[in-house]
């Protein structure tokens, strides 16, 4: 039977470890060959995260693996929680990657980055925002991050820290794309062509397109157009066989080269990429097509080199003509604009990191107060044991009263620090105060039983 009533505190059942650890490599640190060797399939990513938990390396785990990066995110397990420098957990996570993929550790030497705490959070938020991507601001990574997190969440591999971190990352990723130019403008020639067509027609759903020739970039344009559910797609090529082949792959309709001029009146968007020399679409052909369309505009993307569309056609009313150089110039403008937006994106990321850190500070405060309580009780018990001989004459009631009074004393001592650590001042100051308390009272030395449950009650039970 317990002689002293236990303090009731919502956080006293668990001691929260809130340092995030990250180990990984990306397109900047590792070659494509190495990235292939350390990549995880979706299934492997979930299995690896579960294994990291099973081995006690991580308490919460998410594995993010795309063609440009493989990263392990996690909250260190019990054995690593008190180690402040994070090197032990990073070593362990790195060792896990090498053993999982069966590659020599030396192969990863210098190719791996290791972050903990706020640095790991910043990296995660930068990844979500597309700032760490090969193509600055690309949107796919946000979806990939969401999928990786969602799978880990479904399997119960995440916890409060990773949930908070990844939800924050998804939020900041969306905000960066919505509120800055980092992800706003097209960065490839094919997408620039399609986006410009949208500047004319708005939603491309239901519009008609004609593809003249079958170059590689034209296929990318077709893919973008199909993603936008265009109404009809016609493919024309000097070789009808090629037209049929491309049309069958893209769900389009092949038409004979001889019918090209006749077909020009129907499409709203024309994409040309005929590799043979010479102009394929003359000004007169396009002028006649416009006349038959009662002035409805035609948007032409000329991806041919040399150009497939007569440059004089630029002056035609209701015709919007862009060649590969025009699109290249627009992509270059956009690249510069995206880069110029990086500081704004970083500022958004910093504000979200501050939110995360604030949440961390609140959680840390609860944890540190519990640790302090445990430490004080432990010291009291040690003192009692040392002086046990002098207290032999005390009755049970007196001992109980003594324990009760000292408990009250501990609670009173903790009252002000508790309030100030939980609510007082700036978040940065609170985190510094928490670190200071940890250091002053030796709470960062090890996990040697210091915790809310430690103390007289447990010993006497």
């Amino acid at each position: 039977m317990s002689t002293v009533s236990k303090p009731t505190h919502p956080a006293d059942s668990t001691r929260v470890r809130i340092r995030l650890a990250l180990v990984g490599c990306n397109h900047r640190t590792a070659s494509v060959e190495l990235r292939e060797r350390v990549s995880f399939t979706a299934q492997q990513a979930v299995e690896a995260a579960a294994e990291l938990r099973r081995q006690g390396i991580l308490e919460e785990a998410v594995v993010l693996s795309t063609c440009n990066r493989s990263e392990l995110y996690g909250v260190p397990g019990e054995g690593f929680a008190a180690r402040e420098d994070g090197s032990a957990i990073a070593d362990e996570m790195e060792a896990f990657i090498t053993s999982y993929h069966g590659i020599p550790r030396a192969d990863l030497s210098g190719r791996i980055y290791r972050w903990t705490g706020a640095d790991a959070i910043r990296h995660l938020f930068r990844v979500a925002s597309g700032l760490d991507s090969m193509l600055l601001g690309e949107a796919e990574i946000l979806g990939q991050l969401k999928t990786a997190y969602g799978q880990a969440l479904d399997r119960g591999l995440t916890g409060p820290v990773l949930n908070r971190a990844f939800q924050g990352a998804l939020e900041v990723g969306k905000r960066v794309r919505a509120e800055t130019e980092v992800g706003a403008r097209p960065m490839s020639v094919s997408l620039a062509g399609v986006k410009l067509a949208e500047r004319v027609y708005g939603n491309l759903k239901g519009h008609a397109a004609l593809i003249v020739g079958a170059g590689a970039v034209a296929e990318q344009v077709i893919e973008h157009l199909c993603n936008r559910e265009i109404g009809s797609l016609q493919v024309v090529n000097r070789s009808f066989g090629h037209a049929v082949e491309l049309a069958s792959r893209t769900g389009g309709e092949p038409i004979a080269w001889e019918s090209l001029e006749k077909a020009l009146a129907a499409p709203d968007i024309i994409v040309t990429s005929v590799s043979t020399a010479g102009v394929v679409l003359t000004r007169d052909m396009l002028n006649h097509a416009l006349a038959r369309r009662e002035g409805r505009p035609i948007f032409v993307v000329d991806l041919g080199m040399p150009r497939n569309v007569d440059p004089d056609a630029t002056g035609l009313y209701s015709l919007y003509l862009y060649n590969i150089d025009d699109l290249g110039e627009i992509v270059e403008q956009n690249r510069r604009a995206r880069e110029a937006e990086i500081p704004r994106a970083e500022a958004l990321i910093s504000s979200h990191i501050a939110k995360f850190e604030s949440w961390r500070a609140t959680l840390e405060a609860s944890s540190i107060v519990d640790d302090l309580r445990g430490r004080f009780r432990q010291d009291r018990d040690r003192l009692l044991r040392e002086r046990a001989g002098r207290m032999e004459n005390l009755s049970v009631e007196e001992r109980e009263r003594f324990a009760s009074v000292t408990n009250d004393l501990i609670e009173r001592i903790l009252e002000t620090p508790t309030t100030r650590l939980r609510n007082g001042g700036q978040m940065r100051g609170r985190l510094a105060a928490i670190e200071a308390v940890r250091h002053l009272f030796g709470l960062d030395d090890s996990g040697e039983g210091v915790g809310p449950g430690a103390g007289l009650d447990k010993d006497q039970e």
Binding site: E181, R296, Y317, D326
Partner: protein, 278 residues
């Protein structure tokens, strides 16, 4: 008979509305370059607050001068601006498209700033008041506001078209609505304007007939109004024909608004006999 009228911007509400419209313009302009959700919402909120202040300014002024806003050019122009802003805000909510807001609020601010230049006199009050007369004036003012909106949309169209052809796209380019959307919005505004004007003119004729026994067809205001109807009908027709569809039609729509302004100001002030009140 002309009498002096109260200082137009005398009440605080009018100044508040101008300040709120200006603040709203700053936010709308800012989101073209640095789109932020909260800033867009703030822009709309400031515009709505400006509308509320503007409404109370109109109300205060009417109470102070014992007349409806359209009794003088100042009040009428002020009412026009209010209706323009209301119409725009409704369109913004329907289309969820804030990128035109900068242009509309800019026009609003300039328009209200110009109010101080409006002659500070009122004509003799019209010989009769009543629901029909109020309907006539309100519908016509609303029609002019709709034409004003089509003017703004057409200007944005021309800017967008120019940027597309120049191949040098600024930051705002990717935020503007597509040409097709702008074209349809401008046409919708013109349709609305013509519809309102038709009802407004018919109610005016009926009211005039009740009052004087004639329709006052020879009045310059009536003639200019018919010209307005004709040029906007021509715009609607040409904007779907080869050779005009697109930028030329947008240019025409923008120019048509000059005739509306002419009718609103010069004709009312100097030419008309029956419409020397507004």
């Amino acid at each position: 008979m002309l009498e002096p009228v109260l200082e137009p911007m005398s009440n605080h509400m009018a100044l508040w509305s101008l300040a709120l419209y200006a603040a709203s313009f700053v936010c709308y302009a800012r989101i073209l370059y640095a789109p932020q959700v909260w800033l867009g919402r703030l822009a709309s909120l400031l515009l709505a607050a400006g509308l509320a202040a503007h409404y109370f300014a109109l109300l205060d002024r009417s109470r102070a001068t014992h007349m409806v806003p359209y009794d003088d050019l100042y009040g009428s122009m002020s009412l026009f601006a209010w209706l323009l802003a209301v119409t725009y805000l409704a369109l913004e909510m329907i289309h969820r498209q804030r990128s035109v807001g900068a242009f509309v609020t800019f026009l609003l601010v300039v328009w209200i700033a110009l109010l101080d230049l409006a002659p500070r006199v009122i004509s003799a009050p019209p010989p009769a008041h009543g629901a029909l007369f109020a309907l006539h004036v309100a519908l016509d003012a609303w029609a002019y506001a709709a034409f004003g909106l089509s003017f703004v949309l057409s200007l944005v169209y021309l800017v967008q078209d120019r940027m597309l052809r120049s191949r040098r796209q600024g930051a705002a380019f990717w935020r503007f609505p597509a040409l097709d959307v702008l074209d349809r919005m401008a046409r919708s505004s013109v349709y609305l304007g013509l519809l309102l004007l038709a009802f407004g003119v018919v109610s005016g004729f009926i009211w005039q007939h009740r009052l004087t026994g004639s329709f006052g067809l020879g009045d310059p205001k009536v003639i200019v109004t018919l010209v307005i109807v004709a040029v906007y009908m021509a715009y609607l027709r040409l904007s779907r024909s080869a050779g005009w569809r697109g930028a030329r039609a947008a240019g025409m729509c923008a120019l048509n608004f000059a005739i509306v302004l002419f009718s609103y100001t010069f004709v009312n002030l100097y030419l008309t006999r029956f419409h020397d009140y507004f």
